[in-house]
């Protein structure tokens, strides 16, 4: 049986449909790969980096920040590093951020993925406002918590006495010694990683995590009543009363109801 030849229009439409089909398959595969490849929750970014989601959109992966860093702290993620490809990061245990006062890595960024305004205070760059991560202490492996004297992280901290303080308490095991325990203060810590770099334990007992990973969140419904600024959030607040069948009566009345018959008898 002889088949009729396809008309040009039909051929065109079928070919377009084939193209769209290929594109859809490719698009889904591509998206699935990207979704996996961009997830890297434990990566530490250069100072002044935008929040990770925006940073991944905005970084053009040119490496100018890497070249500007005088300590070779920053690296571009290579294929095989299991980090979003081509983006800058650092590993503080190897080389921490030395918190240069002029922050050379930030103004060179052409795309704004490193946002100069986020580390500018009154028109001047201030590296102390950087937010690369947060130091976290594992009290189980920190030898200061065992009672052995060590203040390596405290001494290494570039914001000495603010980001890490040492708290004293009695060592009841010996009865005559003191614990000198390091404590990290999240409001001052920049996540530079000098402490992690200096830590004397085999695997660092103090280490940097991205803030989103290291910190919890109480939620906006908790208000510190003793904190004037926090309390002021209540100023314009108004309550919403919802009445249901159960809540129409007061709780006590509700609980006492249904006994009338018993008491009357």
């Amino acid at each position: 049986m002889k088949q009729e030849a396809l008309s040009d229009r039909r051929k065109f439409i079928l070919n377009m449909a084939r193209g769209v089909g290929y594109a859809a398959i490719g698009g889904f595969l591509w998206s699935a790969y990207l979704d996996d490849a961009k997830a890297s929750p434990l990566i530490l970014r250069p100072p002044a980096a935008m929040p990770e989601e925006d940073f991944l959109k905005t970084c053009i992966k040119c490496g100018l920040c890497v070249e500007a860093c005088p300590y070779d702290t920053l690296m571009l993620a290579k294929p095989g590093d299991h980090r979003p490809m081509g983006t800058p990061y650092f590993i503080p245990r190897d080389i921490p951020c030395y918190m240069c006062e002029d922050i050379p890595c930030v103004p060179v960024c052409p795309s704004g993925a490193l946002d100069e305004s986020s580390v500018t205070v009154n028109g001047h760059l201030d590296i102390n406002t950087a937010d690369m991560g947060l130091a976290v202490i594992d009290e189980n492996s920190c030898i200061a918590f065992w009672g052995i004297q060590c203040d390596a992280c405290y001494r290494a901290c570039p914001i000495l006495g603010q980001a890490i303080t040492v708290e004293y308490s009695q060592n009841e095991r010996t009865g005559k010694h003191a614990f000198l325990k390091p404590v990290v203060h999240a409001d001052a810590c920049t996540g530079c990683g000098m402490c992690e770099h200096a830590c004397v334990t085999e695997k660092p007992a103090i280490f940097i995590l991205p803030r989103e990973v290291a910190m919890g969140k109480a939620g906006s419904h908790y208000i510190k009543g003793w904190d004037k600024k926090d309390e002021s959030r209540l100023k314009d607040a108004h309550a919403i009363h919802t009445t249901t069948n159960v809540s129409r009566k007061k709780a006590v009345d509700k609980l006492n109801s249904g006994l009338e018959g018993l008491l009357d008898e």
């Binding site: 698009g27 989601e53 959109k57 053009i60 490496g63 100018l64 294929p79 081509g86 060179v108 795309s111």
Partner: protein, 276 residues
């Protein structure tokens, strides 16, 4: 010696430019040279002229990024250069992958692999434009510059400057694909960056011109051309190569022994007359 120069002069110049740029980029990272810093995604010439990849920036904007003015100036510099002057010259004069695919193409000819593969080509040359469009859609949906995350071009130039990692595998893939699967497969069929520059450079001034009266129909030009379809006028008409897919690599010019091909500035007036 003179023959070598006349038959390879543009090839030698292109390799000089390609390797020279990589050396300058490498020097900037390794020894702090201030001549050409960054990489092909975005760079700084002499410390103050910004140059940025317009296709990468398009993907970033599609992904929803609000990019800084520095980047847009860099994009303008690059876009204007290729739009008015270079055409698709990025592919043959700058991109390091060109050296990989050219060597694959050369070996294909040496081993006669083309003669062994008589099948229909599995991918059409227009695939690159589909991939270009798709990359922008995927960028918008995934909130990330889609091609930049998988680009073997970026892996190669970034790798050569900042450290290769497993990037060599991507380079090897392209080489083997072009050598064994599809002639001019990557640069001529798939690469969306090449597709982007084909569209951008369509109207540029520098064009290869064919002089039909000199042509002896030896077809050496078609043997070496990585985008054969652009040379449709060979031996038929004296026309400039107007397709944006021509990479201005100039191999056709230097292999021609009869001076039937040469570079020239696009002649708008003449074209107008011919159109009348």
């Amino acid at each position: 010696m003179n023959k070598i120069w006349s038959n390879y002069r543009y090839l030698i110049l292109r390799r000089f430019v390609q390797i020279g740029m990589l050396v300058l980029f490498f020097g900037a990272n390794a020894w702090g040279w201030k001549i050409l810093e960054g990489n092909l995604s975005s760079s700084l010439l002499f410390g103050f002229i910004p140059m940025s990849d317009p296709y990468a920036t398009m993907q970033m904007i599609a992904a929803g990024a609000v990019v800084a003015a520095d980047l847009l100036i860099g994009v303008a510099v690059v876009t204007l250069f290729y739009f008015f002057i270079g055409g698709r010259a990025f592919c043959s004069w700058v991109c390091p992958v060109n050296m990989v695919t050219d060597s694959a193409d050369y070996l294909r000819r040496v081993f006669g692999i083309d003669r062994a593969q008589k099948m229909k080509q599995p991918i059409v040359r227009n695939a690159r434009y589909w991939i270009l469009g798709l990359s922008l859609i995927v960028s918008a949906f995934m909130g990330i510059a889609a091609f930049e995350f998988v680009s073997p071009i970026s892996m190669m130039h970034r790798g050569l400057v900042f450290g290769m990692g497993f990037g060599w595998a991507a380079v090897a893939m392209i080489f083997l694909f072009d050598l064994l699967v599809l002639r001019n497969g990557w640069c001529g069929h798939i690469c969306p960056l090449g597709g982007f520059y084909s569209l951008l450079g369509k109207f540029s001034f520098i064009r290869v011109h064919h002089l039909e009266e000199n042509c002896t129909l030896c077809m050496k030009c078609k043997v070496v051309c990585p985008e054969k379809q652009v040379l449709h006028m060979i031996g038929k008409e004296s026309l400039p190569v107007l397709s944006g897919e021509c990479t201005n690599c100039a191999r056709c010019i230097e292999v021609c022994d009869d001076d039937a091909l040469r570079f020239s500035i696009r002649d708008f007036i003449q074209n107008k007359k011919m159109g009348e």
